[in-house]
């Protein structure tokens, strides 16, 4: 065998080649992974922290759409509780009323979507939110224009759920005895005020306002009845 023949044989080894898929994958691994590591490697803990933070923020944000009975609902409650804790004493009654309204909106959504499974939890949450609003704060809200708007909204929503969808908001179980829907509480307050005003000496104009309030009360429109009482009280304060 000549040298040329041997060299020819050696050159046949050129047929040995790596697998083409491995060549590509290997290149990607070497250059690709290095690219991730090479960008500010000292910031990796910061990236991880930032990622966790964004994830948590996203999770809390996402939980705001949850309904009672959902797994993320407790996160929504945490957010609301922190909102109450970090608010001033003056803001607390308004926030509590807004939460009652929120619970009613949840109930409405559940009823509309016919999510029977979540109904009991939603009612429980709603009742708990109403219990948070004590009588003193309710009266205060009823006499403050901006808060009264929220109360009116709550009453409207309660009425809608009861009359349109037949949801029994006030049916209480043993452990929840003593629960009264907000509409009922407003009704009692209107009733008390009418009785109180009946005892007072009123001029003709005031008596006409009281009569109007009584009519609305008897029709079950406690919002309007209360507004007449408010007008009357305001007038009396001004004249006195």
């Amino acid at each position: 065998m000549t040298e040329t023949q041997i060299i020819k044989k050696i050159k046949k080894l050129k047929a040995i080649k790596p697998r083409s898929d491995w060549v590509l994958l290997n290149k990607r691994q070497i250059l690709g992974e290095e690219r991730r590591i090479e960008i500010f490697p000292f910031l990796r803990p910061v990236y991880a922290g930032l990622f966790c933070l964004l994830f948590l923020v996203g999770l809390f944000e996402f939980s705001q759409e949850s309904l009672p009975g959902d797994s993320l609902y407790y996160l929504k409650k945490i957010t609301e509780k922190s909102q109450i804790i970090f608010s001033s004493e003056e803001e607390k009654p308004r926030i509590k009323l807004e939460l009652v309204n929120k619970r009613l909106e949840e109930l409405d959504q559940i009823v509309q979507e016919n999510e029977v499974r979540k109904l009991a939890s939603a009612l429980k949450e709603y009742r708990a939110s109403v219990s948070e609003v004590d009588n003193k704060n309710l009266i205060r809200a009823m006499t403050t224009t901006s808060d009264w708007m929220i109360v009116k909204e709550i009453i409207k929503n309660e009425e809608q759920l009861q009359t349109e969808y037949g949801v029994v908001l006030g049916e209480v179980s043993k452990e929840e005895s003593g629960f009264i829907p907000l509409r009922e509480q407003v009704k009692q307050e209107v009733e008390r005020s009418i009785e109180d005003l009946k005892e007072r000496s009123l001029n003709e104009e005031d008596r006409a306002l009281l009569e109007e309030a009584k009519e609305y009360y008897e029709e079950g429109d406690y919002n309007k009845a209360w507004e007449k009482i408010s007008d009357l009280s305001q007038k009396r304060v001004l004249t006195e």
């Binding site: 060299i7 046949k12 080894l13 070497i30 290095e34």
Partner: protein, 171 residues
Amino acid sequence: MANPREKFSKIYDKYIDKIYRFVFLKVSSQEIAEDLTSEVFLKTWRFFKEKGQEIENIQAFLYRTARNLVTDHYRQKGRIRIVSINNPLIIDPRQDLERDSELNSDIEVIKMVMSDLKDDYQNVLIMHYLDDLSIDEISELLGKTNGATRVLVHRALKSLKKALKDKVEEV
């Protein structure tokens, strides 16, 4: 001007076949050859990123790294060099089947015989005849004079010739 990643990407494409073949002929295992070749390029890339300007001859650097890694591979746990004829070879798919079979047989024989040669002989044969490196380049890579390299190539070829002759007589 291309960034280091783009530059190295071109280097990878240019040398991956050669370095893989160089390693494969020494370890005779596709899996080990892939692992070691991958390590050669990873090490080179790390060095290239930091001191790319200092590498005067990237080809020499790659071969040197490959040689060192193969040596380390055999040094670890006292591995013995075994030549397996069962390892699949990746052959240019354009060849037809008859030629494939003939080529495979030739390749197996030459691979087996070459693996019995001295390491230095294997290196120069692969570099000069397979990878088409000039005597100058091999001299630089091995740290030898041109004359000494020429002698080494001549002796390696002579040794291979004898080994092939012995193999034929054996069969």
